[in-house]
């Protein structure tokens, strides 16, 4: 067994008496022992409510929480700690932006531009803003390969556009979008540029300062961290003028009977007791990724994806969606098996120990646009091997037979 697999005990178990091939890291990744250990150690030795007590434990908890902020800042190449806000999830992150920025700065007739490939978390909140403010929600559509064309960017992002919010790497197609170009175009027309980096930060080196995004959103559990911790990056100049999102504990400066003033950024956006255990786990996750090296993850995933695409192309009953250009493709493969519904494929693969996702992947509009009801999705991470892919491809060969269609 490779050394790295020793760090992930969950992957050693048998599922339905078969070796487990976990191919659903785009939904959530498994956690290495170092992350599990860090969380356990925090609750065993350091747990206290941060930013409150004058006693040693609370000071220590505060320090651990703030150290993670600093680590996240360095990991994504941001400039200031105060530009990093912790949330519980990427969905909460987009709601923060929609409610705090969208609801206050978007006016009637303004346009918000997103892509048709957005995860619901970067779509439904903007629908709400558009409805409440009388703004228009416009979509960047995809070409046959799942890519956003230059013409689409140029024609949809106009002087009327006030917010552009796009996914960096599609959680359905694995396509890497030209976000540099989109951000630049947004800035050229004076619009705010937001990037959903939930599927990119865990898998490729992302430098938020080089990208020049005004905001970026991601979650910890898709990058080896625990569930319940997410991040919003925001440029100071915008965070300063935005009102708080969640009001109450910990986010205030002074409170009177009828009035209150709010803390500095980032604290004014972190109402309520924060998930310090989650932050500590995220910190350990970032250490793990740094040690492994992001360049190596990218390289490994490319190798796995092209190996899998080659194998899948040998099966005439399989349709793979999205580009096969490895320069524009990350570790996610969406596909369908002829005449077999994705849920049946996933159930059948499960009986062979292979865990894949089936369904609409929180992207109904994209499914409709692609003219499919649902797809199967296999996604990879640093603990996956060619053996996982062989097991997956071999199990796929059997799916049609289970539904009573011929041999393959």
């Amino acid at each position: 067994m490779d050394n790295i697999l020793l760090d992930f005990p969950i992957l050693h178990q048998k599922i339905n008496d078969k070796r487990l091939a976990y191919l659903d890291s785009a939904a959530t990744t498994q956690k290495p022992l170092s992350v599990l250990g860090a969380v356990e150690e925090y609750y065993k030795l350091y747990n206290a409510n941060p930013h409150r007590g004058a006693y040693s434990l609370s000071v220590k908890a505060t320090e651990m929480y703030e150290n993670t902020r600093s680590k996240v800042k360095n990991f994504i190449g941001a400039k200031k700690e105060k530009e990093i806000i912790f949330t519980k999830s990427a969905t909460e992150g987009f709601n923060l932006l929609a409610y705090s920025y969208g609801m206050n700065f978007i006016k009637e007739g303004d346009e918000i531009v997103i892509s048709i490939a957005e995860h619901h978390s970067n779509l439904v909140p903007w629908q709400q803003v558009a409805k409440a403010k009388g703004a228009i929600l416009k979509y960047l559509y995809l070409d046959e390969e799942g890519l956003i064309s230059h013409e689409e960017i140029e024609s949809k992002i106009t002087e009327k556009t006030k917010i552009v919010s796009v996914i960096h790497i599609s959680n359905v197609l694995g396509v890497i979008n030209p976000v540099e170009k989109i951000i630049k175009k947004a800035h050229d027309v004076g619009a705010l540029a937001i990037v959903d980096v939930t599927q990119s930060v865990p898998h490729i080196k992302v430098n938020i300062t080089d990208l020049d995004a005004d905001f970026a959103v991601f979650s910890g559990h898709k990058m080896l961290g625990p569930m319940g911790i997410g991040v919003v990056y925001g440029k100071e100049e915008f965070l300063m003028k935005m009102p708080p999102f969640l009001y109450g504990g910990d986010m205030i400066e002074y409170v009177w009977e009828q009035e209150a003033t709010y803390g500095e950024i980032p604290y004014k956006f972190e109402g309520g007791t924060q998930n310090v255990g989650g932050a500590v786990g995220l910190s350990a996750a970032i250490d793990y990724l740094n040690e492994f090296k992001m360049e190596k993850i990218e390289e490994l995933e490319k190798e796995l994806v092209s190996y899998a695409l080659d194998k899948l192309s040998e099966n005439p009953h399989i349709t793979v969606y999205g580009t096969k250009d490895m320069n524009k493709k990350a570790g996610v493969i969406s596909f369908n098996v002829k005449e077999v519904h994705p849920h049946d494929v996933a159930s059948i693969l499960d009986s062979y120990g292979v865990a894949i996702r089936a369904g609409h992947h929180c992207a109904h509009p994209l499914m409709r646009y692609m003219n499919v009801n649902a797809t199967c999705r296999a996604s990879f991470y640093l603990y996956n091997t060619k053996e996982d892919i062989d097991q997956f491809v071999n199990a796929l060969e059997n799916t049609r037979r289970w539904l009573g269609y011929g041999s393959k």
């Binding site: 339905n16 077999v340 519904h341 994705p342 849920h343 049946d344 159930s347 059948i348 499960d350 009986s351 089936a358 369904g359 609409h360 109904h364 499914m367 009801n373 649902a374 289970w402 539904l403 009573g404 269609y405």
Partner: protein, 142 residues
């Protein structure tokens, strides 16, 4: 989990045959059923004459379990009185929830008995019950 007990011949035959997958001329009730978490959608069409289900069919998309279950259900309820159909729905849901286990009681479900083992696959229960819940909704509106 034994796939043979889930993807049995009855299930795969009903899934592939599509003999109940069509519109019903003169349908008196049309009801949509949807599983938002997985995207399965069916539309059930029923023609009720004098409190009897004279004809029924369905359209839509979904997995083999949901499609077969809809087809099996239609075979079972066609020609039955509304009251009888409601009892069959109750028995079917009871079987899936493992609340009804007496074989004698379950026998009246005929081919739908093939879906009994779906209760071993919690992730797929919602697929098996979609059509039955949809029919229930429709009959309760009557």
């Amino acid at each position: 989990m034994d796939l043979n007990s889930i993807y049995s011949e009855i299930i795969t035959d009903h899934n592939a045959s599509g003999h109940n997958k069509h519109h019903i001329e003169g349908a008196t009730m049309i009801e949509k059923g949807h599983n938002p978490s997985c995207g399965d959608e069916i539309e059930l069409e029923i023609k009720i004459v004098d409190d009897r289900i004279e004809d029924a069919g369905f359209t839509g998309v979904g997995c083999a379990i949901s499609q077969a279950s809809a087809s099996i259900m239609i075979d079972l309820i066609k020609g039955k009185e509304v009251k009888e159909a409601k009892e069959l729905i109750e028995t079917f849901l009871g079987m899936i929830k493992r609340e009804i286990t007496e074989e004698e009681e379950l026998e009246k479900l005929e081919d739908a008995l093939a879906l009994k083992n779906i209760s071993n696959m919690p992730a797929r229960v919602k697929c098996a019950v979609l059509a039955w819940h949809t029919l229930n909704e429709s009959l309760n509106k009557k």
